[in-house]
Amino acid sequence: MQQTINGLASGSIYALLGLGVTLIWGVLHVLTFTHAQVLTWGAFGSLIAINRGYPVPVAILVGMAVAAGLSVLIDSTVLEMLRRRGASEYAFVVATIGLAFMLESILRNRTRARVEPYSRDGFPRGPIELLGQNVPKLQLAVLATSLIAMAGLAIWLNHTRAGRGMKAVAYSPETATLLGINPRFIYAVAYTVSGMLAALAGVFVAVSTASVSYSSGDRLLLTAFAVIILGGMGSVPGAVVGGLILGVIEVYATVHVSSKFSEVVAYLVILVVLLVRPSGLFGAKEATRV
């Protein structure tokens, strides 16, 4: 039971990651290899705010602002130029890989490759008793936040004008344009939301490990991809369910096999899903080609 809760807690961080990536994939059909860096920069943003004495909620907002700003900047410059030229899918992948390397390099040099401590003050501490188990309050907070984020995103996408606009642009940017929707604005909104989710995930990771470094995001990038492949690329509920499942599988793998094995779980999930059911749990059946 304890393990399941652990799994759900880390899984809800994965869900936040997955939501961010699936949103961008759904609306822009781009797989952002820069997401891990956006996450890390967001975490550092919050760290700087905390170290300057700002209260935790403000620090988190600062982190979100940094991450959102970075995401929107990357898209409105490099990716917009690629879009104008009608670049193919791989060009976006390669460009975002290059950008990720650049961002990581900058971060590494600025922090001199040090691992910075991340203070847990101001975050929920200690356990709370639930169903006869001692559950860390922090984990519950993470889980609750992810679920709220998912619900918020679902409501927004399905019941608001902006959400409808986003779905329209995702389906056909040209038709949306003819209906008076500004696609570039929609892209900026998508990246802002995605960045905020990434920063949130980054902060939670930093608090869990009580540290943050330039490489905090590395492994999480492929975890995010595993989440959306498992859940179905472009699906919001898929990202949440996929994330939670992946988290639980990893915890069980650590306990029953080894912690080393749990490192590969995300990659194995990708391979297995591709072999068995490429469109994932909730994805549209558009995975196969010709």
């Binding site: 390669v94 290059g98 950008l99 390397f101 650049m102 094995f261 590969v264 990659y267």
Partner: protein, 289 residues
Amino acid sequence: MFEWIPAYQRFLLDVTLIDIILVISLLILFQCGLFSMATAGFAAIGGYTSALLVTDADWPVPLGILAAVFVGATLAVSFGLPVLRLRGIYLALGSLALAQVIVIGIANVGFTNGVFGISGIPTEVTTGWLVAIVAVILLVMELIHRSHFGRAMKAIRLDEHTAAGLGINVFAYRMATFGIGGAMAAMAGALEAHRTAVISPDQYDFGLLVVLLTYMFVGGVEHWLGPVLATIGFRILNENLEFAGTDWENFYYGSILVVVMLLAPDGLTSRRFTQRLARIFRRRPDLAT
């Protein structure tokens, strides 16, 4: 045969030749429209297969290398069968996952000596071997380029639906190229193992892929000569600029990739880019044509 070259230069030559094999293994996939990120994984499989067979089972080195090629091809075909039917992005992610599984697997399994790697591998691979192998590979690449096989690959890369409509068996070409690519990468890995005597899992990391992508895109996807020249050029540049190993090396490669994607997604020697350059130059009245 190449002993007259000073030792350090010979070392550079060897490394560059192996890099060329790796780049070509990536290039041939690209020329068929396949974006795979598994190169490092296949190199690892190749290196370890040969190293283990030669050090633990006393196989002769040439046989070890052949075994590596065989394992690489087999793995590529097994992986390709389910994945090559899917959209490109799934190949990209799946191949990345495959490479990670392979490398992490190697790092954690007992008989590979885990993270410590294998040492004391017989280093029978000489510059002569490498030159010969690369020459053969490039010859084959040129033959492919001029043949129906090559034209079919190009058709698939440019417009797979039309290619299929023309009667080209897209899936078969993809499987064939993927198998060849995997075999070549595995061979490069095996050759490297027998060049340096030591291999360990951490040399097959994502950074290797980024470097290869850079060489390939800077050189251009349309003809093998571009990436080969780019590989040589970068090696010379790296030696003279002392970038390698510094903190900014990743930044340098990353920014080159971004710039190349923005200017010329098919590479700097691609027709689209050279035509664009020509048009820019033709507009300047002071340059007589």
